[in-house]
């Protein structure tokens, strides 16, 4: 009998710590499938960020260095300059990338570093317990916006993919979701492009994923999944913002 579905080789065979209904696990799988597809497992250096994403070093079967909060693109710059023949990727959440690490992501992208950045946007600080993030939606209740995010005092949610696409140094920028099989397949296609621009030495590849955080959204896994289409996609449109489709 032919095996048609198995764990990607680039994923370690351990249970993850992610909450039920969280999309990190699915996104991890897509990344690992790409690592396998392009034969990158033994020439990859991953850069872990701070937040739930840090445990990528437990789940991906690749070399990983841990970066301080928000600094993964700077660490990855040092790694890639030193090892230009290796595949270097960061995996960052929205608090890490869009808030404390805003300077590092913009300048690494603008320098056109040959990196692949995987950005997981779940509109909240997950690991620290559900605080407001730069991507938190207007009206969204978090532990630090208990009455809902107000645009007047906190500004509107930041659309990072659009900012990345406006920078001269980026070669591919996409935003996808994994809430439905259709979206997942489209997202994987974009993720592959974000890999390819680095593999082909074209430049900086950026892939944003809209993700759930059922625990901090105070929602069931099912409701959280529905929120992606109901609330997030209308504000954070999916698609390729820069580069070949």
């Amino acid at each position: 009998m032919k095996q048609v579905f198995k764990r990607p080789e680039s994923l370690v065979d351990v249970p993850t710590h992610f909450c039920p209904g969280c999309h990190h696990g699915t996104i991890h799988r897509l990344v690992a499938e790409c690592l396998d597809h392009y034969g990158l497992r033994d020439k990859t250096i991953g850069v872990a960020s701070v937040g739930c994403s840090v445990f990528m070093y437990d789940y991906f079967d690749v070399d990983v260095v841990e970066a301080p909060h928000g600094r993964a693109p700077a660490v990855a710059t040092g790694v890639k300059r030193s090892k230009p023949d290796h595949f270097v990727m960061t995996y960052q959440g929205d608090g890490d990338l869009a808030s404390i690490g805003a300077a590092e992501i913009i300048h690494a992208a603008n320098r056109g570093e040959k990196l692949t950045v995987i950005f997981v946007n779940n509109t909240v600080y997950g690991m620290t317990g559900g605080q407001m993030a730069p991507t938190t939606m207007i009206g969204q209740e978090t532990t630090t916006s208990p009455y809902g995010r107000e645009e007047e005092s906190a500004g509107p949610p930041i659309r990072i993919a659009e900012i990345m696409a406006g920078l001269g140094g980026t070669s591919f920028v996409g935003r996808g979701a994994v809430d439905t099989p259709k979206n997942l397949m489209k997202a994987k296609k974009m993720l592959k492009r974000a890999f390819e621009v680095q593999i082909n030495n074209e430049g900086f590849g950026f892939m944003e994923f809209l993700s759930t955080c059922p625990t901090n959204w105070r929602m069931t896994a099912e409701k959280a999944n529905e929120r992606i289409a109901d609330e997030l996609i209308p504000y954070f449109p999916l698609g390729v913002f820069k580069g070949d489709k």
């Binding site: 033994d42 250096i45 690749v62 260095v65 841990e66 790694v79 090892k83 913009i106």
Partner: protein, 353 residues
Amino acid sequence: MANKELVKGNEAIAMGAIEAGCKFYFGYPITPQNEIPEYMAKNLDNEGGTFVQAESEVASINMLLGAGSTGSRAMTSSSSPGISLKQEGISYMCGSQIPGVIVNMSRSGPGLGGISPSQGDYFQSTRGGGHGDYRTMVLAPASVQENYDLTMKAFDLSDEYRNPVLVLGDALLGQMKEPITRNKYKKKEYKQDWILDGAKGRERRRIKSLYLADGDLTDHNWMLFEKYESMKKDIMFETKYLEDSKMVIVAFGSVARILKSSIAMAREQGMKVGLFRPITLYPFPTEELSKVADSIKNFMSIELSTGQMIEDVKLSVGAQNTTVDFYGRPPGSIPSPDEFLEEIKTIYEKRIK
């Protein structure tokens, strides 16, 4: 005699780094150390290396962290306010055991302060500087030649201990010109069984400072502590006139250099004064200075600050029935040998009856 070249202090740092095989430099402009990135930008590419002007000091230390994690020789430099910004990355590098050389051609603070020389970063340099219980080795040159030689040494120490090493100079040591000999670097081999270069034919490697499992962080910190203790075998210091001295001046860096003239003048006037100059500020030559206190009982710490190293001097000799006097001044001007001489004279007359 070897060929001498007239070289600016900051350039000597950059030359020493390149001679020691530094391939990557990451930095951000700040006075008074700009000749270091400028020299690197001009010359590092020619040597097969890469210069990156980072978007900030925060980014440059993290680029150093990244390059260091792959086992490459890399360096960053800055001056005091910029070094404050690097502390986050330095803490992570110590926790993750990533080598790298960090140069602080310090200026005066607090805050934006000024660009004149200062020794006000002594505490920050020798006590870790950032969060957590850690240390970086600190080398304090006192001449342009030492800028060159100790920068080379810093790369070896950093690789040997898998720990960042700080070279602490100041505006004076960075800006002055002196003739130096470009000593050749003798290449040494260090273990690279920890570096990240792709998990090919081996288990994956993880370089990190996060330890959440019960007891792991305690063990990790004890291991780091033992490493810091082991650095004592590389303690360096210089002494002068200790054979017959009745009073010992303890000073480091550019101040020690000025004091050599003051001490020579004091001796001409019949005062039996000697010099003890720590070259490694961390680890501090505590036992070595304590040995001096077996026979000499009067010490004077002289610093270009309102008093920081004096704490280490007191910890070294304070329990040996000694006197430890202090002369220091905040930054803003450079003391002359004559000014120091007057202060030495006052203390000498008070202590040596």
